[in-house]
Symmetry: C2
Subunit: 344 residues, 2 copies
C-alpha cells in the first residue's frame, strides 16, 4: 500500500528547480495542486492562507521560505545579508502565532547561519539544517506514534480532530502491524474541513475503517459507546500542561471527560519550554469572513457577523496523557521528561 501523501512532509513540500513546491492542502483530496513559490513572501502567503498546516510542517515550510530569501540575496551578490534574513524570518514568523515551532525553528536557523559566518553560503547552511529537520521530524513522528500505539487495544474505535499529523498515521500503521483491529472516526473540523479532507482521507488510504462525522456529533457517538479513546495533536503545550490545538479540541475533551473516555495528546517533541502558562499562548483569530462562507458561497444573511478563533486551550485536568518522543506522560505535570523538540 503506498504511503499516504501527508505521512511525510517531503511528499508535499519540496524543492524543484530552486522553487519551493507546496501541495495546496485546502484543495486535497479532490485535486493535487502544486503551488510554486520562488520568493519568501509567497511562502509566507501560502502559510497564512493555510495551503500547509500543522505546527511542525508550517515551521519547516517557513524554513524553506528563508532558504529562498538566502538564494535570492546570494544571486544578487549581497552574500549573507543578516539583516535582510532576519527581516524575512520576522515576516514568516508572524504568519501563524499559535504554534511555537515556527518562530523557534527560524530562530535556530539564524543562529546556525550566524555561527557559520562567511565560511559557507547561508543558503547551503539553511538547506542542510532543513534536511536534518525533516529527518528529525519523521523520527519524532515515528517515536511518538510508537509510544501512542501501546495505548491501543484491538477493537478500539478512536476519535480524532483536525489533522493530528504523521504521528497519528504511524500510530495506526504500527497498530495494524501488531495485529490490532482499530477503527477511526474523524470530525470534519470546520471551517477548513481538515478532518474530512486530510485526516479521514489519509487514514482511509492507510487501509483503516474510517468514518466521518460533523463536529457536532462527537458527544453523541461517545454517549452511544462508539468511541474508546480520543487522540488529537497540539500546536503548543505550555509548561503548565495547557494545550493549544485546533478549535473544537476543548469541547471534545470536556465531552470525553463527561463520558470517562481517555483523551490523549500526540505531543511530538513536547511542551514549549518558553511558554509557562496557557494564557501566555498567543491565540490566532482568523478573518471572520471565513466562517460566513464556504468556498466563496455565503451561508448566512448579510447582517450576520462571524467569529473565527482558530485554536482553543484545553486545561491539563481534561487531558489523560501527553505522548511525546520520551513516552507517555500521565497527569498534568510535564515539566520534566519531555522529549526532543520537533524543530530543535
Amino acid at each position: 500500500m503506498p504511503e499516504p501523501l501527508l505521512m511525510s512532509l517531503e511528499n508535499n513540500v519540496y524543492l524543484e528547480d530552486e522553487a519551493l513546491i507546496i501541495i495546496d492542502r485546502r484543495k486535497l483530496p479532490r485535486t493535487v495542486i502544486p503551488v510554486y513559490c520562488t520568493e519568501a513572501e509567497e511562502v509566507a502567503q501560502a502559510i497564512r492562507e493555510m495551503m500547509v498546516q500543522g505546527a511542525g510542517d508550517i515551521a519547516i515550510t517557513a524554513g524553506f521560505g528563508l532558504y529562498l530569501a538566502a538564494i535570492r540575496l546570494e544571486r544578487e551578490g549581497k552574500g549573507c545579508n543578516r539583516v535582510q534574513l532576519e527581516k524575512t524570518a520576522s515576516l514568516l514568523s508572524a504568519t501563524r502565532p499559535t504554534g511555537f515551532h515556527l518562530a523557534l525553528l527560524l530562530e535556530k536557523i539564524l543562529e546556525k547561519v550566524g555561527q557559520v559566518g562567511n565560511n559557507q553560503p547561508a543558503s547551503a547552511v539553511i538547506l542542510a539544517f532543513l534536511q536534518r529537520a525533516l529527518v528529525r521530524q519523521k523520527a519524532v513522528s515515528q517515536d511518538t506514534g510508537r509510544h501512542a500505539e501501546t495505548l491501543l487495544v484491538s477493537g478500539d474505535t478512536i476519535l480524532t480532530h483536525c489533522f493530528a499529523g504523521a504521528a497519528l498515521l504511524y500510530m495506526l500503521k504500527y497498530a495494524r502491524e501488531n495485529g490490532k483491529d482499530i477503527k477511526v472516526i474523524c470530525t470534519e473540523t470546520r471551517p477548513y474541513l481538515q478532518g474530512a479532507r486530510l485526516t479521514a482521507w489519509s487514514v482511509s488510504e492507510l487501509g483503516m475503517d474510517t468514518r466521518l462525522i460533523t463536529d457536532n456529533m462527537a458527544a453523541w457517538c461517545m454517549s452511544r459507546g462508539m468511541i474508546q479513546k480520543v487522540f488529537t495533536a497540539a500546536d503548543r503545550i505550555a509548561m503548565d500542561g495547557t494545550v493549544a490545538n485546533k478549535v473544537g479540541t476543548l469541547q471534545l475533551a470536556i465531552s470525553a471527560r463527561h463520558y470517562g473516555i481517555p483523551f490523549y495528546i500526540l505531543g511530538y517533541g513536547g511542551p514549549d519550554r518558553r511558554t509557562l502558562k496557557g494564557e501566555d499562548i498567543p491565540m490566532e483569530e482568523r478573518n471572520a469572513q471565513e466562517v460566513l462562507e464556504f468556498q466563496g458561497i455565503p451561508i448566512s444573511g448579510p447582517k450576520v457577523k462571524g467569529f473565527y478563533p482558530a485554536f482553543d486551550l484545553t486545561p491539563p485536568e481534561l487531558i489523560s496523557a501527553v505522548i511525546t518522543t520520551a513516552g507517555i506522560e500521565k497527569g498534568s505535570n510535564r515539566k520534566k521528561g519531555a522529549g526532543k523538540n520537533v524543530s530543535g
Copy 2:
C-alpha cells in the same frame, strides 16, 4: 421592521390555487424558492428532504399533504375514502420519526374527519383543523417566548443551535420591546447549516447583534465568558425529561454544564405524554452521504464512510429548565404542569 420570513409558518408554507407552496429552507437565505406540491407524495418528499424542518412546522406541512390527498379523492368522486386517507397519513408520518408532533397531528386530523363523517367533505374538515392549528402554533410560540424572555437579563449573550423556531424569535422580540440588550451567537449546525442559514439570518433580520460560529467553537466561547445562557428547541421531550433535538445539542449541554452556564429548552407545548423514556424515542439516522459532501461537493476520500445521526438525546440532569406555554419548569420532573401540545 418586517417580520422575518420564518417567524410565521403561513409565510413559508401556504396554499395557492389548490397547490401547497413550500419555500425551500435548504436554499434560504440566498434564494427564496417556492416548491409547488399538488400531491401528498410530493409533500412527503419535501419533508424527507428537509425543505421544511422543525417538529411543529413539519406536522402542519404534513397536514396540508393530507389535505391535498383529500382534495384529490373528492375530485375523483371517491368522497371520504378513509382507508386511502389513513394510508397517506402513514406515508407522511414515516418521513421524520423523531419529532412527535407529526404523527400526533395526523392522528388527530383523522379522528376529526371520522367524527364529522359524511356531513362535510374531509378536505374542508382538514383545512379548518389546520387553520386552527396554525393559530394555536403561533400562540404557543408567543407564550413560550414570553415566558422565556423573563430569563433574559440586559447584557446577556445567548447561544443557540439549529433553528429553535418562532419561540426563539418571539423571546428576542419581547426582550427588545422590554428594553433589554441581548446579543446572539448561532452555531452553524452542520451538515444542513440551519443555524447559519435560518437562525442567524432570522435573528439578524429582527435587528439583533448576531454572530455565527462553527459547531466546534461553542465551548471555547463559553470558556471565554462570551455566553451567559444557551437556548435550544426540542423535537421531542420524553416524560422522563430527556430531550431529543438536533445533533449537537448534547455536547452543548455538556459544555454548558462544565462552565456553569444555564441550558434552557424551548419546549413549546411540552413533553410527549406517550413517550415515557428517552430510549423510547425513535432516533432518525439520515443518509451518510450527506456528511460526505458539503453543499453537493465531496469533501473526503473515496474510501471514507459517513455517519449521520440527525438528533441526539440530552438527559434531564443537563437541562436547567424547560420553557413551555405553562411557564418555566426547573429540574427534570415535567410529568405535571406541561402546557398544551403544539398539535393538540
